[in-house]
């Protein structure tokens, strides 16, 4: 069984637009016999409208766009995981990167390493994904694969090692020379199906020897065994391949393959490279969090005999119900088994278990650790962890941050309204940090999330995937209130006119909580407030936290201590004490000098070093505090804390000041006090809005 897992590859194919991802993926599916004909991206006249890959996929009915497609090559099973083309960082992208064990980075031999390649590559770096590179389009005019190798080294900081050199270039491209075996490889037949090898063409012998030398030189840095073999002239292919495999997996080198997917050259050797150099699931360290042990990290093993742990990484809505793509990290899932969703502890039964192929779905009875399959009809969210119940763990932290920004949505018509509802239902399942609700006062649909870009992505998806035409309001920051000093209260709620009377008195004080949460301390002695009414007092105070008395923002970090009170044998009730607490809150709150808090984001900008100054300025102008700047190769990563309200539109600004070469991520880090002058502005704005009948 372990041998089978060793022959499994979960890979992503990443590329910038127009570098040939669709053509290469299609050729892979063709050579692995998943599809039986090759279509071309462009029309026969060669100038036909260039379609984007998604449209093409849809038109062809190929499910490359599905989260994972399965194929087999030379006894190895390969799951190709869809690498999202957009660079906006969402939880879905994170999950796609997480489930892949390795990736193929496609580069255009003419265009080279472009800014989008840089972005995608840096995302993969973050997730420590080992890569091999494929320099495509070597048949194009202006092709220069050696220049691209240089760029891989300089721009992406990869230790790129050429595995091949091209036989001919541009229109004369006819094959590749393998630098390990030192043979020429040609791809013959109408679709390049027949792979033939022969001697290295005489005019390439010198160059091939030189490039092989360079390859061995580079590899010998990592292996004494290889160095000795070179010195003793006992070098063989097995040693070279072993070093390449080990160092690719440890991300010290990036083997580089060449070819032209369009001309059917070099695809099969790339597939060999995937099998030979990218890791099997057993070679990748995967961590889960033990929910029964304070989220302690546990290392998972790709062992089919161990308890099941699987991650739902993508949901797809099909006419037959929800399709949930899962990656099994440990254990074996069988049809009919019970699984437990860690988030809800709910048990589900595995009904249909399927493996996705290019254009078909294969029902399977079981699937093992390391594999990627899909479950039909399971009610779950994307990012859910499944276990067999013997182990309660999660592949990601169960901590879900509160949204910090919101946006109102107005559908254009009834149809858009229905589609919007479907979209919102889907998105909230996919992403726990995305929320939606209908504001009771304005009747508007409000979506909230972790940043402007985060919401932009969903609004865009709503339009594209669900045809929901909506108009968005201005983004609103989720401000909070907090008190700054201790303030005492002594409030009596008394109503003794007509009907049953109400009486309750509470005495104590409110103060800022060091823990930053709501705390309720009961120090009442002698039963002055009967014990049964204490929860009602707590409830009364908690109800006030939803809307502070300053600007009606929720109140954070307050500690209430109730020391004394008074009750009436007949007129006291839970309701009376809840009202007394509300009165006490009102009495003490403004005396406790409340302030407005604003969400502050941790912003991380990755940018070519020459733009460091521009980026620093732009952050400084936004009331940001730069924490650090780290130089790595030709890149600089700047980390800063910036108020969210200042980050609106930053993506556009960043693009313009860095020629589109920067990438930034941001996440909520803390609430900080809004400066006095801005708090006053906000108060004025809110008052004006209230006068105009518009709720802020």
């Amino acid at each position: 069984m372990i041998d089978e897992i060793k022959k499994l590859r979960n890979i992503g194919i990443s590329a910038h637009i127009d570098s040939g991802k669709t053509t290469l993926t299609e050729r892979i599916l063709y050579y692995t016999r998943r599809i039986f004909a090759i279509h071309e991206v462009r029309g026969k006249d060669g100038v036909g409208a260039k379609m984007d890959s998604m449209e093409l996929e849809k038109e062809r009915g190929i499910t490359i766009a599905s989260a994972a497609t399965h194929c087999e090559w030379q006894g190895h099973r390969i799951n190709i995981i869809d690498t999202p083309g957009h660079v906006d960082f969402t939880i879905e992208v994170e999950r796609a990167l997480r489930v892949m064990d390795g990736a193929v980075l496609i580069l255009c031999s003419v265009g080279g390493v472009q800014s989008q390649s840089i972005t995608v590559d840096r995302q993969m770096n973050r997730y420590k994904v080992p890569r091999i590179a494929f320099i495509n389009k070597c048949d194009r005019a202006g092709a220069d694969p050696y220049k691209v190798v240089q760029q891989l080294r300089q721009k992406l900081n990869h230790n790129a090692v050429l595995m091949q050199i091209p036989i001919g270039l541009e229109g004369k491209l006819s094959g590749v020379v393998d630098l390990i075996s030192m043979v020429a490889i040609y791809f013959e037949g109408p679709n390049g199906d027949e792979v033939k090898s022969g001697p290295v063409p005489p005019d390439l012998i010198e160059e091939a020897k030189k490039k092989r030398e360079e390859m061995l030189d580079n590899l010998s840095m990592f292996s004494d065994e290889l160095t000795e073999a070179i010195l003793e002239e006992t070098i063989n292919e097995a040693i070279i391949r072993k070093v390449i495999r080990e160092e690719t997996i440890s991300r010290k080198i990036t083997p580089v393959f060449l070819g032209s997917a369009y001309k059917n050259i070099g695809v099969q050797t790339l597939l060999d490279g995937i099998n030979s150099y990218l890791p099997a699931p057993v070679e990748v360290k995967n961590i889960a969090l033990d929910m029964n042990n304070n989220e302690k990290e546990i290392c998972l093993e790709s062992n089919p005999e161990m308890p099941v742990v699987a991650l739902a990484f993508k949901l797809e809505v099909t006419p037959y119900g929800q399709l949930t793509y899962i990656r099994i990290y440990q254990g074996t899932i069988r049809k009919g088994n019970d699984l437990v969703i860690t988030r809800t502890r709910k048990k589900i039964k595995v009904g249909r278990l399927v493996r996705m192929h290019a254009d078909e779905m294969e029902e399977v009875v079981s699937a093992n650790a390391g594999d990627i399959v899909a479950l039909f009809g399971v009610e779950c969210y994307s990012g859910d962890t499944f276990t067999d119940g013997s182990l309660i763990c999660s592949m990601s932290s169960m901590f879900i941050p509160e949204p910090v920004i919101s946006l109102s949505l107005t559908p254009k018509d009834i149809k858009a309204q229905n589609n919007m509802s479907k979209a919102l239902d889907r998105f909230t399942r996919e992403d726990p940090t995305f929320r939606s609700y209908v504001d009771q006062e304005s009747g508007e649909t409000i979506i909230s999330g972790m940043g402007e870009l985060h919401l932009d992505v969903y609004v865009e998806r709503m339009k594209r995937e669900f045809n929901a035409q909506v108009e968005t309001g201005a983004p609103q920051v989720a401000y909070r209130e907090a008190i700054t000093i201790k303030s005492a209260f002594d409030y009596t709620h008394k109503k003794q006119t007509g009907g049953a009377g109400q009486f309750g008195r509470v005495m104590g004080f409110m103060e800022p909580s060091e823990k930053g949460i709501y705390e309720f301390i009961n120090q009442v002695k002698g039963g002055t407030i009967p014990t049964e009414y204490i929860p009602a007092v707590d409830k009364g105070f908690q109800s006030c936290l939803k809307k502070g008395w300053m600007l009606e923002f929720p109140v954070l970090g307050m500690k209430i201590t109730v020391e004394d009170g008074k009750s009436h044998s007949v007129d006291s009730s839970e309701m009376a004490f809840t009202q007394a607490a509300i009165g006490a809150f009102k009495q003490a709150y403004m005396k406790a000098k409340p302030v407005i808090l604003e969400p502050v984001m941790k912003v991380c900008v990755e940018v070519p070093s020459e733009f460091q100054g521009n980026v620093m300025s732009s952050i400084n102008q936004r009331r940001g505090l730069i924490i650090s700047s780290a130089e790595d190769g030709v890149f600089t990563t700047i980390e800063a804390e910036v108020p969210l309200s200042e980050m609106f539109g930053y993506a556009t600004v960043l693009r313009s000041i860095t020629q589109g070469k920067a990438e930034f991520t941001m996440e909520f880090t803390k609430y900080s006090r809004l400066p006095e002058s801005l708090a006053d502005e906000l108060k004025t704005r809110m008052k004006e809005s209230a006068k105009g009948g518009i709720r802020q």
């Binding site: 400084n620 924490i627 700047s629 130089e631």
Partner: protein, 232 residues
Amino acid sequence: MKNFISVSPLKILDKSSRKELGPGNLGVLIARAGVGKTACLIHIALDRIFRQGKIVHVSLEEGPEKVMSYYNVIYSDLVKALNIEDSNDENRMIIDRSRMILAYLHQSFDLDRLRLNLNNLQEKLDFKPDALILDGLDFETTETSVFEGLKQISQQFGFELWLSALSHRHISDANERGVVYPVNKIDYLFSIIIQVQAESSGVFLRLLKDHDNAIISDTSVRLDPNTFLSLV
């Protein structure tokens, strides 16, 4: 944080002729591996910060996150050891606002880059440091011209610059002035040289060079090996 300043390892400079390293000068801490060079450098940084100064911390080995966590750990130890109240994290905010971390990973460090980065800090952020802490420079492989360049930079920007140097048990070379390897051949570039030594009774700081003062007082400062605070 007056109570910290009174027990900071920089107390050793009270015994020096000018009581400080001073702008435009280089200072170095020499110690064997594991004695606490980074911790001492961070104490120097905190000393400057709590005297209302600004510092740039340059790290050549660790990323910013690690550097930040060093500061957090050392500051937390300080709070405990000195029994300081910091309920609103005000001191932490002061540290964050007064410190800039510049990391140069994977051999990205060179003088031109440092100069450019410091210029950016000054021009774009109006951040003018009083001290620069440079941790992780390999004295054995770094050419003298780099130290000369660092001295020029400290003069150009008007800050004092502190470095740490790794010494070895098996190399006991020292020059006629008593300055030990690996600073023995370039000691003329440094104004203050301090040796950090771990002994059974604690960690000791010894002044090996005090500006142009030929006579160095033969006194040392003993530090608590856990907190690196001076034991008065």
